[in-house]
């Protein structure tokens, strides 16, 4: 049973994220069955599902890092992975990777400049300060702990301009202060009109979203708002549609 999305933000001509009949197969093993959905500009969405449900696959296809086996994904009307799509989409992966010969500050400069940001220094200092990383700016992020790496990846994701933010399991490994800082950054991005899609089980974030998309075994099993449903149960259960009545999607 799948509940229809009832968001007040009706999809416009060019949704921020348009997913049409997208599937992914590895050999003869399906990772994602055909999925279609639209996410409107400025929407704040939580993507949930148990391990192996296809969240990361869907997010990576949207970011352009994976090729869909079938279907298409558009970012603001542009094909995912295309130059304009990359310009408007920021992706923070679940496994942070860094150059092993650049400091965190040099990473910030590099990423900012690659994205054409000229006045990056103050923004970088603010971001690192907000995430409690300012003192570590001259260290190599490749040698950081899991949590610090995650914070560094978040800083890199936010130093560049974006309209759409895709984040995969960003709360893993973060301490309480880090989680709070990230929640503030995500809220701030939403306030500035960006579309925010986060794959997570973090209840503190899920409670703040307007829409939840749930996947199970590569299938879309729930797509709807959070009103009148048990969000905690929805996040924890492996069969969200089974616990909550909803319309067929």
């Amino acid at each position: 049973m799948v509940r229809k999305h009832t968001n007040v933000h009706a999809p416009v001509e060019h949704p921020a994220l348009h997913v049409e009949n997208v599937s992914k197969t590895y050999g003869d093993a399906p990772a994602l069955n055909p999925i279609s959905l639209d996410i409107a500009k400025g929407e704040r969405v939580a993507l949930i599902g148990h391990n192996g449900s296809g969240k990361t696959t869907l997010i990576r296809i949207a970011s352009g890092l994976l090729d869909a086996t079938t279907g298409e994904v558009k970012i603001n009307g542009h094909e995912s992975g295309s130059l304009p799509a990359r310009a408007s989409l920021s992706f923070i992966a679940d496994q942070p990777t860094f150059y092993d010969d650049l400091t965190l500050w040099e990473h910030m400069e590099y990423v900012a400049r690659l994205h054409g940001v000229e006045d990056w220094e103050q923004a970088a200092a603010d971001l690192l300060g907000h995430l409690g990383l300012y003192e570590r700016a001259d260290d190599m992020p490749n040698r950081f702990s899991r949590g610090l790496k995650q914070k560094s990846a978040i800083a890199l994701g936010f130093i560049r301009p974006f309209d759409v933010l895709l984040v995969d399991e960003p709360f893993v490994g973060l301490d309480a202060a880090g989680k709070e800082a990230l929640l503030e950054l995500l809220a701030n991005a939403s306030e500035h009109g960006s579309t925010v899609v986060v794959a997570t089980h973090e209840l503190s974030f899920v409670h703040t979203v307007e829409r939840i998309i749930a996947l199970r075994d590569g299938r879309l099993v729930y797509d709807g708002d959070t009103s009148g449903i048990n969000v905690d149960g929805l996040v924890r259960t492996e069969d969200p549609a089974g616990e909550h009545d909803g319309e067929q999607h």
Binding site: G27, A29, G81, A93, Y99, R113, L114, G116, L156, R160
Partner: protein, 546 residues
Amino acid sequence: MTSPSLGVDALRAMRNQRRRHRVADMEWFEALYKVYIAAFLGGSAILFLSGLSTDTPLTTQQMTNLLAHAPHAVGLIAAVVVFIGLRSGANGGPIAVEEPEVRHVLLAPLNHAAVLRHPAIQRLRTFAFAGAIAGGTANQLLGRRVPNAPSLVVFAMWGAIAGALLGMLFIIAALIVHGLGFARWMATALATVLAGWQVIVTFNDSHIAGPFDTIGSISLWWSRHSYIDIVGVVAILVLAIFAIALAGRLSLEALSRRSSLVSQMKFAVTLQDIRTVVLLRRQLSQEHMRVKPWVKVPKALRKDVVIGRGFRSMAHFPLRRVIRMKLLTMTGAAALVAAWRGTTPAVVVAGLMFFIVGLDAVEPLSQEVDQPDRTDALPHDRGLLMVKHLAVPALFMFPFLLAGVFVAYVAEPHTSTLMYSVLLGIPALLGGVAGAAINAVKGAPDPAGGATQGLAMPPEVAGMTTMVRAVWPPAVAVIASLPVLATRHGFETGIDMLGNTLRAAGGVVILLILVGGWVRQRDAIHVWFRNIQKAGSTPISKVESN
């Protein structure tokens, strides 16, 4: 308008800065040591090859044959290189950039062509250089046997040019297939057509030109100038430009997948960790086990849990792995035929082919070794478990034996070929399995806890030990292919050909039994050896006081 330090310019600036960092951080002594090692190994290889080729001048007839057949033969090597290149491209090759480069640069709004052109050219340059070294070396070795030859430098130069073109072809083929998004089957079909064409013109003594004859022909420019070859060279250079232009169309998924796998694979190669190389190569080429087995393993075969697990593993083998194993077996069989006909070094090729087949065949055993905690938690003797795991791979070799017999019979269509190919094929294939089994089992944890034992050894001893550990598994496979030489000797001398074959095959069977015994008793042998070492290092006074 983008300022000079933004976008692609920022990329260039950062690449330059990183290069300067690397140069500044370089340990010059270590770099010189690497150069020394490379020069030593390269020189040794050249000396070894020089030793293989005699200095006896070629006869007039041999010279005529050389000039007539070299273009086809070198073209055949080029066809194999292109075959591999096309397959590599279909699997996401040939470029491997750093993982952060994919995440931070290729996801930035930069033209991918501007980002990837540089690594593509680098790759092309590296392969052209390696090809030039190999071609130059091979041609100068040939030059020593040509009567009234021009300077060896001339030989080396034309060989280097041919070799460089050959190396470039690999990258060109891979880039074009990847850039144009050819499906794997399309790339394989194209590769098969090109290779098949070259094989036909090479072995049928045809006057029709093969697709890669140009390269072989250029290597002969020390003798005669065939100006039509220039067209071939120009075509390759144009294709190179086209291939580089396609760099911007490479799949981000493939680059992302390869970025981490290739660096891991390089590391595994430096450690001579063949199992890891095999696993990473499978991931690189996206070779996944079948979710649905080919057949359901009957209950009778699952009576013994270990044997049943082996059959179940085989039932999940992907089709391409089975086809690859068949092709490798057939190549090995062809090499044995070549050895039978007089090319003795071909037994090494045969042994290595069967060893690679064995690496795939012993998958159930390798999986067991990959999970040492699980294996050690079982209430069974580990050695017995490992030996049992050899039964199914050995049986699994039977259909491959038939493929080998078929090749031998096609090459030597006599009734006796069937008998001799079975007599030689069984030990050869089982030798491949035995070599692969040694390779797998030596990766298992040392029950005597001797993982750090090598650290106390002098570098010379540790180096030799590492070398022996790396060479021993394929050496067993090569030894198992040697009986063909005994058969040939019997044929050449006209004395007891069957007896010679059986005696040699019997020797290999004894070797295989010893390998099985080693797998069974490896843990006990290690414990015994450590105890001996401990006893030897115990102070005498202490022993006396006890």
